[in-house]
C-alpha cells in the first residue's frame, strides 16, 4: 500500500492541471471588483449578470450557435452518405479519401483560415457568414465521417439485404434499417461537432469581419478593450453549457462508445 502515494500524487496533479484553470475562471468571474484577477476581490454575481446585457455578445452567441448547429447538420448531411459509401462500396483509393477527409483536423487551423480567406472570401466575394459556415462545416466533417463510420462498421450488411428482400428499395433499406441503427453514432457525431465548432478559434479568427464575430473571437476582442471579470463569467457559463451537453449525451447515449 505504501507504493500507492505516487499514483495518487500524479492523479491529483493531473486533475489540478485539467480542472484548476476552470475553477480559477469560475471564481474570477465571481469577483466584486472591476478587473480580472484571482483570487477575486470579494464575491458577487454582478459579472455573471452583466454578461447578458452586453449587446455584442448577443449577436456573437447567436452566430456561434447558428454555426455550431447548422454547420454540424450540414457536415452530417455530407458525412453520413460519405461514411456509408466508404464502408459499403469497394471504392478505389478509399484509404486516401479517408485521409483527405481528415485533413482539416491535421492541418493547423491558422493555415485553413488563411487559405479560406485568401482563396474563398477574397476572390469570390463570399459573405463572412457564408465563409464561416463553409469553414465550420469542413472542420466538423472529419468527425462526422469518423464517428458515423465506426457505427456503420458494427452494422452487418446482410441486414440491408434482408430489408431489400422484404421489399425495400436501397434508399428505404438505408432510411428504415441503417439509419435507425446508427442513430447513436449520428447523435454522438452531432454533439462532438457542435462542441468543436462552438469552441473553434483560429479559422474563425481569419474569417471574422466587421460586426460578424463568433463568440470566442468576440470575447477576445472584448478583452482587448475592457479587462473586467465578465469575460471570465462568460467563459465559465459557456464551459458549463458544453459540459452539460456532453454529460447529457453520455448519460443517454453512452457517448464515449463512439468517440
Amino acid at each position: 500500500m505504501t507504493a500507492r502515494w505516487p499514483t495518487w500524487l500524479i492523479l491529483g496533479l493531473t486533475l489540478t492541471f485539467l480542472i484548476g484553470p476552470f475553477l480559477i475562471i469560475i471564481f474570477a468571474g465571481l469577483s466584486a471588483g472591476n478587473s480580472l484577477a484571482f483570487p477575486p476581490q470579494g464575491l458577487s454575481l454582478k459579472w455573471y449578470l452583466k454578461v447578458f446585457t452586453i449587446e455584442s455578445f448577443h449577436a456573437s452567441f447567436a452566430l456561434s450557435m447558428f454555426l455550431a448547429v447548422f454547420g454540424t447538420l450540414a457536415a452530417l448531411v455530407i458525412g453520413i452518405p460519405a461514411a456509408y459509401a466508404l464502408n459499403r462500396y469497394d471504392i478505389p483509393g478509399a484509404e486516401t479519401i479517408k485521409t483527405a477527409v481528415a485533413a482539416p483536423i491535421i492541418v493547423p487551423g491558422i493555415i485553413v483560415g488563411l487559405a479560406l480567406l485568401r482563396y474563398l472570401v477574397v476572390p469570390l466575394d463570399v459573405t463572412i457568414t457564408m465563409a464561416l459556415f463553409v469553414a465550420h462545416t469542413a472542420l466538423v466533417l472529419p468527425y462526422a465521417v469518423r464517428v458515423v463510420s465506426s457505427s456503420l462498421q458494427n452494422l452487418r450488411v446482410d441486414m440491408e439485404e434482408a430489408a431489400i428482400l422484404l421489399g425495400c428499395t436501397r434508399l428505404q433499406a438505408f432510411t428504415k434499417v441503417v439509419l435507425p441503427n446508427i442513430r447513436g453514432g449520428v447523435l454522438a457525431a452531432f454533439i462532438l461537432g457542435f462542441v468543436t465548432s462552438f469552441n473553434e478559434v483560429p479559422v474563425s479568427l481569419f474569417l471574422s469581419g466587421p460586426g460578424v464575430r463568433t463568440m470566442p473571437i468576440d470575447m477576445l476582442s472584448y478583452m482587448e478593450i475592457t479587462y473586467d471579470p465578465s469575460v471570465a463569467a462568460l467563459s465559465a457559463l459557456l464551459a458549463f453549457m458544453c459540459v452539460a451537453i456532453v454529460f447529457t449525451a453520455e448519460k443517454f447515449l453512452g457517448f464515449s462508445r463512439y468517440v
Binding site: 452487418r156 446482410d158 441486414m159 439485404e161 434482408a162 430489408a163 431489400i164 428482400l165 422484404l166 421489399g167 425495400c168 428499395t169 428505404q172 428504415k176 434499417v177 435507425p180 441503427n181
Partner: protein, 338 residues
Amino acid sequence: MSDAFVSLSDLTLAYGESIAVPNLNLDIRQGELIALLGPSGCGKTTTMRAIAGLMPAKSGTITIDGRDVTRVPANKRGIGLVFQSYALFPHLSAFENAAFGLRLQRRPEAEIRSRTQAALEIVGLAHLAARKPSEMSGGQQQRLALARSLVMEPKVLLLDEPLSNLDARLRLEMRTELQRLQRETGITMVFVTHDQSEALALADRVVLMRDGVIEQIGPPDALYNTPVTAFAADFMGFENIFAVEGTSLSSEQGALAVSYSADAPYLGWRPGAVRLGSGSHEARVRSVAFAGGHREYVLDTQIGPVRADVDIAAPVFSVDEAVMFDLPQETAHPLKAS
C-alpha cells in the same frame, strides 16, 4: 422439365472476372425441399443469392412460376431468405420485425396485425412479440427470421445454413419444424448447407455441387447409397476410396494387390464394409474408439490409413496389434473419376 417451378438455365455467375458458377441448369418443382450441398466455395451460396436476386446473373435465365425474373430486382421477386446470421433488425420488436414487409406494402393495420400474429404463431413466438431480438435466444431469433419471411407468403423460401448455428438439440427441433412448415404451407424451399447429414435428413432432393458445377442430383437415399463419383462418395461418408490399376488398389501412400479388377477407375468402401480380423492383407491398428454399437478402427496399411467399423460383439484389437483385413469385392462401390 415442364413442371419446373423454379428453373435455372445456363446460369453463369461471376465475381468480376472470376466465374463462380458456369452454366448451371437446375429445375425445382413446386413444394419441393431442395438442399444445395457442397464444401465451402462450391458455389452453393452464390447460386442461392442469384435466385434471391442479390447476385446478378452474367448470363442465362432464372424463371420462377413461369416468369423470367433474371432482370427483376431482389425487392420485386417475392422471395424469402433466412440469413445464416438471421439479419434481424435490432431496433424493432419481434412483432415489428415480422411486420416489416407488410408495413412496406402499406397494408391495412388490421391485416398487418392478423397476418403477423399468424406467422409468429406458426413459429411459436406469439408470446414473445414485444421482445427485442437481442432479448431472444439463438433458436428464437432464427424462428423470428423465418416468420419475417413467411409472413410475406414468398413463392420460394431460401435458407442459408439454417441449422449450423444451433446446438444439437435445437438442430433436431428446427429440422422437425422446417419439415412441418413445408408440409403445412406447401412452400418451395431451397436451403444451403455444407453438412451432408443435414441435407440428407431434410431434403426431398439433394444437389451436390463442386467448383460451381452440379456433381450429382438425387433423393437422399440415392445420393447416400449410390454416389456416382469419388467426390460424391467422399462427401457421403465413403471414407476408403482407392484408385484401381489392373488388379491392385492404389493411393498416394502405396499400392495393394487384390484378387479382382474393376471397370471403374475408383472403388469405395464405407468403414462398415471393410472386413477386419480375417483376410489377405496385413495391417497395424493405429487407433480404436468405442462408438456405441460398433468400434471405429483406423488401420495403418500399405495404402495408407484405412477406416473400419466393426460390430461391438466382434473380438477387440488393441493399438499397435497386427491384424488381417480385406477390402472385399462384394462390398466395393464402383466410382467414376472425380
